[in-house]
């Protein structure tokens, strides 16, 4: 029960790698899109928002399928990537990152958006009068103040990708050591009668990863709170 097979260990590592990749890959777009959604009004905003939200609503399997169509060898972007950069995403762990990231992005964007919309604009005004350009104001005032939301968003993306199954398996496949993440391994185990304990062992591994990431995020949030000067006990 405790000893993990090499396959399982590799699935855990891969999951971690993919989840961290997702966390890294979603941060910048989530911050940009979250800010855009929170602070700008433009025509078709709601369409953009729908687009961002789509991977949340569409079953992940379909997302994977659509990714395959777009990023596959014969897909519009996939072809171009392969020809120009010799990058192939299908069946690679980068592909798993892409799939998970797309599925997780709406969660991260929502979180950032909420936090940015709750940042006190009067502080941004103060920064502007001190000579901060809008960009600098964003980097130095808005972002740090929205930090709990950004961190929360990254955490959500990380966690969601630890649990992502449908899109990854469809787009990136289930190749041991390169795309077989924890959920895929769990799924495989569940398909064999009597291997429930293997599945549960892997579930526990997932939970441990989740716990660790929460712990880390808690530490970072606390530090941020401290920096934000929010009294924790009053």
């Amino acid at each position: 029960m405790i000893a993990l097979s090499p396959t399982e260990v590799s699935a855990i590592w891969l999951s971690l790698k993919v989840a961290m990749g997702v966390a890294l890959a979603t941060t910048v777009p989530a911050v940009l899109l979250g800010w855009l959604m929170a602070r700008r009004e433009f025509r078709g905003k709601i369409l953009v928002e729908s687009l961002i939200h789509a991977p949340l609503v569409i079953p992940p399997v379909v997302t994977g399928y659509l990714l395959l169509i777009v990023f596959g060898r014969h897909g519009a972007i996939g072809k171009w990537l392969a020809e120009v950069f010799d990058i192939r995403l299908v069946f690679t762990w980068q592909g798993a990152v892409l799939a998970s990231a797309i599925v997780a992005l709406p969660l991260a964007v929502r979180s950032v958006r909420l936090a940015v919309s709750l940042v006190d604009r009067r502080l941004e005004e103060a920064a502007l009068t001190l000579g901060y350009s809008p960009f600098r104001t964003f980097m130095k005032v808005t972002l740090p103040l929205a930090w709990p939301g950004i961190l929360g968003g990254i955490l959500l993306a990380f966690s969601r990708s630890l649990g992502e199954f449908g899109a990854t398996i469809t787009f990136a496949g289930n190749v041991e050591g390169s795309t077989q993440t924890l959920p895929l391994a769990i799924y495989s185990a569940l398909q064999v009668p009597g291997e429930e304990n293997v599945a549960m062992r892997l579930v526990v591994a997932s939970l441990v990863l989740c716990f660790a990431s929460l712990l880390l995020s808690e530490v970072l949030t606390r530090r941020a709170k401290y920096k934000l000067g929010v009294r924790r006990d009053s």
């Binding site: 398996i169 495989s188 009668p193």
Partner: protein, 247 residues
């Protein structure tokens, strides 16, 4: 009405069977299509199933050990065979040589993968092919990869190949190369209407529908000992209807 839990891969054929059954005065069927494993567990957890159509024997066996199905009503509804498909115009030969990736169900968890493993082992191709294999989470995904041209070939059921169309069937694995690919069915409850449907499934009419969808008759294919390890020439009996369906 009554409820049939059926493996997702049998979706279209079972729907047609149900329609035909209804035409003949049978009660309407409610379906629950999912993976065999999910269904078996649901049944075990007390889901209100009346019949269970499994995509492999293992899950039915498991239900039997849980005494969650009526053993005496079990029979094999249909059989299937394993084929290698490739995108149209492929120059692949079915002779043990391989180039490019081959999508195949996960050896451990996907029934089609298990059969494929047996067959490849039996043919002695496994070790050469291993680096080229891409395990997938379901046979559908394997098929999808072939359709999208992500892989050079895939090992799927003959029925899938037929239904998908537009694909080149490079070869059919001989039936004796793997354990029989059968779809066991058994009653779960004592529902009369369900038992009627079970009986209907044994009729010639039902067999015709199954055949139309590319399934083989389990009795006829059940000869594990016959040894026909010949190459691409050994097209299964249903290949003709495959080509017939292509239009």
């Amino acid at each position: 009405d009554f409820t049939v839990f059926a493996a997702a891969s049998t979706t279209d054929v079972l729907k047609e069977l149900a329609a035909s059954h209804k035409e003949q005065g049978g009660e309407p069927v409610r379906f629950n299509f999912a993976s065999s494993g999910a269904l078996a567990r649901q049944i075990d957890a007390g889901a209100p199933a009346d019949l269970f159509v499994s995509a492999n024997a293992k899950w039915m066996d498991w239900l039997e050990t849980q005494s969650a199905c009526r053993k005496e009503t079990r029979f094999d509804l249909a059989a299937n065979s394993l084929v290698m498909v490739a995108p149209p115009g492929s120059s692949l030969a079915f002779d043990g040589t391989i180039s490019g990736r081959v999508a195949v169900g996960d050896f451990k968890s996907v029934p089609a993968g298990m059969y494929a493993k047996e067959a490849l082992e039996h043919l002695g191709w496994l070790e050469t092919w291993r680096p080229n294999l891409v395990p997938t989470s379901s046979v559908r995904t394997a098929l999808l990869y072939v359709q999208r041209g992500e892989v050079a070939a895939g090992i799927v059921y003959a029925t899938d190949a037929q239904a998908a169309g537009h694909l080149e069937v490079v070869g059919t694995f001989p039936a004796e190369a793997h354990s029989p690919i059968v779809y066991p069915v058994a009653a779960i409850s004592g529902n009369k209407a369900a038992l009627q449907f079970l009986d209907f499934l044994k009729t010639a009419k039902a067999k015709a529908i199954l055949k139309k969808h590319g399934f083989a008759d389990p009795e006829k294919t059940n000869h594990k000992d016959s040894k026909s390890t010949k190459k691409s020439g050994t097209k299964p009996s249903c290949t003709s209807c495959l080509s017939g369906e292509r239009k």
